[in-house]
Each structure stands twice: as structure tokens, then as C-alpha cells.
């Protein structure tokens, strides 16, 4: 069921390229000073790749995601999707936050439709709404309001809402961070399923090393103050991955060690 509907909605991902991106913000308690959130960050992500950004708080991973979404502009450097420079938000770069941020005044169906309404494409693509609700397993909740949903269900709606625009890139800012451990593991599988079925490029911010190893093609480790890329670790484990395989655990130990050397014990929490 899932694969057949997924095939009809599949889209090609797009590559991403960050060239010397820097971003600073005014420091809240000192008007003169600036906090450097990102310092000269360069990174290339291939089309259809799933890359995790891992690092302690303040390392600029969410800032990088917001810049990619076009919600903020860098102080210097450029961001490209394919060959095109990113200048503002666009439906081709979907964003899912830790808080699902569903519009509480809309039902599940209307939340999922909102991307189509915003682009004036509802008439043309209305048939896809049911398909996306099925894709995330919510067809029986079409008319429920968001406050009736559990955290996991709300996050599924948020995913469907982002996916209905067929984004070339899906930006995930700790999308599973607020879920309990079991729901979280199940949702990881669902996101992977969507990724494999649709071939979307995904950039995932997470605090969870296990999640990063389980899901990504590559893990980018960042360090704070100023936010920089410490190193990039390709994960070559075969999919579907085993959370308790020896290689998984060895990799996990290595990364934890690395983050420890990076002076950031917090990241393991």
C-alpha cells in the first residue's frame, strides 16, 4: 500500500552547497557584541543524500537549517540549491520543527492542504491530499483538530504537510526530539521509508547520536562558539541498519569519544 502510493508522489531531490557561510546575531545582554553562530561553514550535500548535523547547543546547526530554508540571510557566504542561490523561503525546501507547529485552527486535512492552498494549487492537486494522509497513516483523522492528536501523530501531519509540496529538500530540525523513545524509533523508520520512497534530500538536526547513525549517509559534527564543522563521518552500514550490531556500537563509541575530545560532553545527553 505504502510503496504504491509513494511511487506516484516521488520527486527528485536536489543537491545543496554552502560556501563560506557565516552568521552572527546581536548578543542579548550586550548591544555592542555579536555572537557568531556560524563561522565560514562550507559543505556539499548530494541530491538524495541524508545528512545529520550533530553537536552541542549553540553550534549553529539550527541556524544553518534556517538559512537553508531561507528564513534568515547569512552575513557572508552563499547557499545554493542545485545551481540556484537561496535568497528566501520557498516550497521546494520544506521545514519540520521539533514542535509540529500545526495550525490549531485547521483540521488535519486542512493542515496538510495548507501548502497547496498557499501556492494556489488546491484545485489542481486536491487528489493528492488523501494520498499523503494515507502515506503517514492518518486517513481516519482527517477531520480531527490538532489538539486531539498525540505528539507522534501531530509530527506525522507536519511531515505530510511539508511533503505535499514535493520539496526537493526536507529540512528537519530535531523533528523527533519531543517524542518518547518508542514512538521516536518508529518515526525514524517512517522518515527513512519516506526518504527512500521519495528520494528527497534530507538535512537532519539531532542531539541523538543513535538517531544520526541509524539514519544518515553522513554525520556532520559541529562545534560551538563559533559554530564550525569539526568533521564529517560517512556511515557506510548497510540498510536497514541494526541498532545493536557491533559495527553500530563501535561507531557510536567513536563518535562519543570524538565529541568528548571536542569538549562537549553535553552532546551525549
Amino acid at each position: 500500500m505504502v510503496t504504491s502510493s509513494a511511487q506516484t508522489v516521488a520527486t527528485e531531490g536536489a543537491s545543496l552547497r554552502f560556501a563560506g557561510v557565516s552568521k552572527d546575531f546581536p548578543t542579548p545582554d550586550n548591544v555592542e557584541a555579536r555572537t557568531v553562530a556560524l563561522d565560514n561553514v562550507s559543505l556539499s550535500i548530494a541530491a538524495g543524500e541524508l545528512v545529520s548535523l550533530v553537536g552541542p547547543s549553540g553550534c549553529g546547526k539550527s541556524t544553518l537549517l534556517r538559512l537553508t530554508a531561507g528564513l534568515d540571510t547569512p552575513n557572508s557566504g552563499e547557499l545554493y540549491i542545485g545551481t540556484e542561490m537561496i535568497t528566501g523561503p520557498s516550497a521546494e525546501r520544506g521545514l519540520v520543527f521539533q514542535d509540529p507547529n500545526l495550525f490549531p485552527w485547521l483540521t488535519v486535512r486542512h493542515n496538510i492542504e495548507s501548502g497547496l492552498v498557499a501556492r494556489g494549487k488546491l484545485h489542481e492537486k486536491r487528489h493528492e491530499v488523501a494520498e499523503f494522509m494515507r502515506l503517514v497513516g492518518l486517513e481516519t483523522f482527517a477531520n480531527a483538530y490538532p489538539h486531539h492528536l498525540s505528539g507522534g501523530m501531530a509530527q506525522r501531519v507536519a511531515l505530510a504537510r511539508a511533503l505535499i509540496n514535493h520539496p526537493k529538500v526536507l529540512l528537519l530540525d530535531e523533528p523527533l526530539g519531543a517524542l518518547d523513545a518508542f514512538t521516536r524509533m518508529r518515526m525514524q523508520d517512517e522518515v527513512l521509508r519516506l526518504w527512500q520512497a521519495r528520494n528527497t534530500t534530507m538535512l537532519l538536526v539531532t542531539h541523538d547520536i543513535d538517531e544520526a547513525i541509524y539514519m544518515s549517509d553522513r554525520i556532520v559534527i559541529m562545534t560551538p562558539r563559533p559554530g564550525r564543522i569539526e568533521r564529517t563521518i560517512p556511515i557506510t552500514l548497510e540498510r536497514p541498519r541494526q541498532r545493536n550490531s557491533p559495527e553500530f556500537l563501535r561507531l557510536r563509541g567513536e563518535i562519543l569519544e570524538m565529541l568528548h575530545f571536542a569538549g562537549a560532553e553535553k552532546a551525549t545527553a
Binding site: 505504502v2 516550497a91 520544506g94 520543527f97 495550525f103 485552527w105 492552498v117 489538539h147 504537510r161
Partner: protein, 347 residues
Amino acid sequence: MSNPVQELKGPVQASSPNVKARRGVKIATPAALRLPANIFLAIPLAVAVAFGVHLWASKNQPAPETNSYNLFLGALLFLSIAAAAVQPFWSHLRRWMQHMCPIIAAAISLLCLWEVITSGLRWLPMPYFPSPAGVLQSLVDDRALLFDSTWHSLLLLLSGYALGVAVALVTGVCIGWFAPARYWGMPLLKVIGPIPATAWVPLAMVVSPSAMFSAVGLIALAVWFPVTMLTASGISNTRASYLDVARTLGAGPWYLIFRVAIPAAMPNIFIGFFMGLGASFLTLVVAETVGVKSGLGWYVSWAQGWAEYGKVYAALVIMAAFFSTIMTMLFKVRDRVLVWQKGVIKW
């Protein structure tokens, strides 16, 4: 693959709204199956007492003045007995009665008290404090003029309120959304807004071509301030993340204002509507008292001029019913529009 969906269904059904509602009915039914005698007998008893009080109090009064009160009490008695007889077979009525009987009986008891201290013991100076029977008689006698006054008040209120709300929504959204409108508009709003609309009466009388026209303007002004204020604050406090999400979904400014900011501000806007409605009642009555030559406010001061206090109270009774009906209708509209809040916020 379909595994997660199945797992989802279990916990979800328990929290789904219709299941909750069904369970609620099941609990409610046995409790409401039989109405305790003290509940369905409360109204007939209160009416019987009222009859007794009325007989005693009106023995030294001419019969025609008290006739309609007798009819009123008789009708109440008949209805309450009929309802008590029918309720075992009609669960809706039964639930309604369970809720309403004590309140209605208490209201009738208050009427008794009123009658005792006015026409009964004559504790209060007479022409100013007529008995409930006298008020009811005035209401019946003058029903044509009272109906006409209510109609005029309704027209004036609705046109003023509609105008005020329409203008306020535009100014509120502009001030809440556009930074320049906020910069220039907010000080104006803060300085002009708090002046009670009734304070403009002298100016309105000079400036406007007709009393009716100035009354509509004053009511609109009274409504405009709270609705603008609350709309603007609701719009400008729209959660930034809703706007961010909408932008990444491809939303333009039109969508951001009308599909995100305004719905998000709706709870606030409705608070403004309620505050505006209260202000509009006040302004309506003042405007009718000082300028407009029709409506309930005019009727009250006219009746007072003739020292017909029965009519004054009759008009007050009509006003109470009239204003509370309008308020109730606004509540109904809100329940419809803000149905998505149900379960989130206690109203």
C-alpha cells in the same frame, strides 16, 4: 509497512473526540433518567407561593391592574405542571429541567419578595417602585410602543456595531501587521481610544447632520477602540513559527495575513467583540437618551418624564432580555468560529 498505522489505531481511539462524547452520554443517561421530585415540583411550588403573596398584596388594589400578573402566573403554573408530566418521556426536556428548574424557581421567589416589599408591605415609596404586577401591566398596555422602541434600538445598535467592527478589523490588522501603520497608528489609538465614546456627545451633536447619524458614529467609535486594540495585539503576537512554517510552504503575504495571522488572532478578536458589544450597549442608551427620539433609552427617559415608573421598569426588563439575547448570539457565533479551541481552553 502498514504496521505503524495499526499500532496507531489502538491508543488513538481512546482519545478520539466521538468516543469521549459517546462515553459521556452513557454516564449522563442513568443519572438523568429520573428527575427528583424536589426539582420538578420547585416551579409549581414557587408559583403557588407567588399566587398566595399576590392575593394578599393586591387585596386593596383595583382588579384590572393585577389581571395580567394572574394570567402570567397561571400560564407558568400550567407550563410547569405540563413539563413535569411530560418529562419522564422526553430526555432532552428532562436534562433541561434538571438544569433550569432551580434557577427559574429562584427567579419566581424573587418576584414574590419584590411584591411583598412593594405593594404588600409598602416599604418603598409608591410611584417609584411599582409591584411586579404593575410592571407587567405597563408592559402589556404599552406593548406597541415598546416593540417599536426595541426595533429602533436594534437597528441603531446593529448599524453602529457593524460599522465599528468593520473599520476596527481593517485598522487592527493594519496596525498589527505593518510596522509603519503600527508606528503612526498606535499612539493615535492609545490617545484617542480610551476617551469614552459618550464624551464625544457634545461634538457629535454639533458636527453631524442628524441625531441618528451621530448615534451610529458614537456607537461605532465605542466598538472601534477595543476591537482594534485586541485585533492589533492578536495579529502582532502571532507565533513566529506559524509564519515561518507558512513561508516554507510557499505562502505569500496574502496567505500570511488572512490564513495565518487573522485565524491565530481570532480568540483575541472575539474578546474585542465582546468588550465592544458591552460598550455599544452603554453608548446606545446614552445616545438615545440625549439625542435620538426613539429606542429603549429614549422610552425610559420619556416614561420617567411622565412619572410612569411602571413603564420605566417595563423598558428595563425588555432591555435586559434584548441585550442578553444579543450577547448570547455572539457567544454562539464564537463557539462556531473557535470550535478548534474546544478542549484547549475552558470557556
